[in-house]
Subunit: 188 residues, 2 copies
């Protein structure tokens, strides 16, 4: 049995609730603005004091890293559970999920790496996503659905680059769709 810290269950539940409230308000702000939201604004929206906020996340970097890691966890888990009728469909469905995630945003990567010094979390995340998605790509190549001249790293680079195209979703979506169609194995 693991040793327990001697903290009353109620207080632990409260602390957990505060942390979840903070993450819940920061999550959409993070996705929309790439972490541009201020700590004071996060505390205000979560309805917690600054002391509580800083006890949970000593700075914007820790908050952004927590959100980023949480989203990477979800993407890695999705690699094992994503729906699709074939290995190729599952791979493409997973890439679409990656494309829709803040994790594939260059803006957020830049914020994390250049402004906040979170390069190690960023690099760890890329490694974890490569590990999680690798079997999906291999299965889709083995089934003959996906071309073999790109590695997953290159596919990520493609999706991330296309994510940086400015414009409305109806302008951007067909571009991503066409590029992902291009991953299909070619005849001959």
């Amino acid at each position: 049995m693991p040793p327990e810290t001697p903290q009353p269950p109620l207080r632990r539940a409260d602390a957990e609730r505060n942390r979840e409230k903070i993450l819940a308000v920061a999550r959409p702000a993070f996705a929309a603005a790439g972490g541009d939201v201020s700590m004071a604004e996060v505390a205000r929206r979560a309805g917690v004091g600054m002391a509580t906020l800083y006890r949970n996340f000593p700075g914007r970097r820790e908050l952004l890293e927590a959100l980023y890691t949480e989203e990477v966890d979800a993407l890695c888990a999705a690699a094992g559970s994503v729906a699709g009728e074939s290995a190729g469909e599952r791979f493409i469905a997973w890439l679409n999920r990656f494309a829709a995630s803040p994790v594939s945003s260059r803006h957020i990567a830049r914020e994390l790496i250049e402004n906040l010094g979170g390069e190690s979390v960023f690099n760890d995340s890329r490694s974890r996503l490569l590990s999680a998605g690798g079997p999906l790509l291999k299965a889709a190549q083995d089934s003959g659905e996906i071309r073999r001249d790109l590695k997953l790293d290159q596919v990520f680079s493609m999706v991330i680059a296309l994510g940086s195209i400015p414009g409305a979703p109806r302008y951007r979506a067909p571009i991503l769709r066409a590029a992902l169609d291009g991953l299909a194995a070619r005849p001959e």
Copy 2:
């Protein structure tokens, strides 16, 4: 007959030669570094004095605009002469030429627009390229080779975004190839 300026033919030929010498040394520097080269360095490499350089190009903006416009002219001309066995092949060959040109570099676009104030040349160039490439895309769609859910503007956005992927050519080239393959019309 058009009126002639009273300039001796020899001096006009000299001036033309100087201008061409300057453009010739600036062209590769522009393609490689996105116009990051200094005016003094351009004068030195071209073997002309600063006065001659500035008489031809009053500033870096004018020099970069001249190189940019020259390259856009070449791309527009290529739209009418590019080789290929079918309309689809000609369109893709032209896009590959666009992708290889400094004109599709975000770095150079940023330099031109943000640092040098050359937004009008940039926008004019995009319009001219859209006009030149439009018939190529239409022919390739009419022949059933290229999908119809993207406009040329979106195809440009795709190529420009993929051009911003860092890395060696052997890392980048398969990504562009896959995305351009994705422009093929899909069965059903």
